[in-house]
Symmetry: none
Subunit: 117 residues, 4 copies
């Protein structure tokens, strides 16, 4: 896994997002045990507390749950994961689309730009 952070947003929020992506893309499978907080923190080059904060945030959305002294697990509810994916895709696309519209770009010109990538 590759970790990199931009300096203009809180690290723990970027962690939340990147972990979410890994869950969505099945790098972490439903029901799978996550590495320990300490290990994940070290891997990401981040303080354990920061990683903890990110994981608690994920727990608040029920995408991850923790069993004390045993470990943290990805939800087994694949439906919930799918739903999260759709929400994220939806949110990101609309944000992107609005920004492009702010530049006076039409839907067609946006499509064209993507075509060339």
């Amino acid at each position: 896994m590759k970790w990199s952070f931009s300096s203009d947003r809180a690290i723990y929020l970027q962690l939340v997002e990147q972990i979410s992506v890994h869950i969505i893309c099945s790098t972490y499978l439903p029901g799978e045990k996550l590495p320990s907080v300490r290990d994940m923190a070290q891997e990401a080059g981040v303080n354990p507390n920061t990683m903890q904060k990110a994981l608690v945030e994920l727990e608040n959305t029920d995408i991850v749950f923790s069993k004390k002294t045993i470990g943290r697990f990805i939800t087994e509810d694949t439906q919930k994961i799918k739903q999260m994916k759709e929400e994220l895709v939806n949110k990101k696309t609309t944000v992107f689309f609005k920004e492009m519209q702010a530049f006076n770009l039409t839907k067609e010109s946006i499509q064209k730009i993507i075509e060339t990538l």
Copy 2:
């Protein structure tokens, strides 16, 4: 002009971006004098210091320049503005595209989603 800020990024950076958009979209025309920092700050509902910081940032990219005691102006170099627009569009599109790819979406499926918006 509508101003709104998300809480997870520095406000001055969001200002930089939104002002850029207005320059690109010719809400602010090339060579035009900008309102005073104080006025712009008030209009945006932001502390003058914050607006000041955003404008300094814009000056660093030569898209805005200031004449002492007279005021701040949009560059008259339309070429530079056009270039900035392309850079911004380019950057945003590639970022968006990468994020969508991280979700395992193909170019075609992205196109479809945009189609439906």
Copy 3:
């Protein structure tokens, strides 16, 4: 305000509860500005981070909200406060009642005990 903590529950949870009580009892009034995190922490004899955690917890229930760099405020929605009070009273009473029933006490005997207090 008096602060005291029992050692068998997380301090931040006890803070949440005690602050809630003060809001419910109008020690803190709707719309009122709370003292700064640092001040509240010092007053409670607790690390600022711990107090912060408690306050974030309260924010998650919308009973408190924060304006960055300005301060934290009690919600102005008195309805929400009332609702919180009822929930707390309800929860505590039912828990208490169940425990007493576990001791084979009837409703009448519980009433009697309370009578004597």
Copy 4:
């Protein structure tokens, strides 16, 4: 027997309390031999170490005593059990009462709420 634990207090303390209740309610009779630590742990869905700790705690109050290599027994002193019950009821009631008073509830309104349960 039903076991369930809330996550915000140490499990062994919750065990102490629940076992006490069973002694008080004569689910475990005076002088009766308790099941083995291992069995009790399994029944409660808890690690044997945790159950062990709870039982040691109970021994410290003389409500339970152990005969080496034979097992653990409930005290035969029914007076002591009765006393423990009274203490527990008393403690819980006063705590509950204080909490309700903190909400500005009068004795009468508390009585009413209990009435409706």
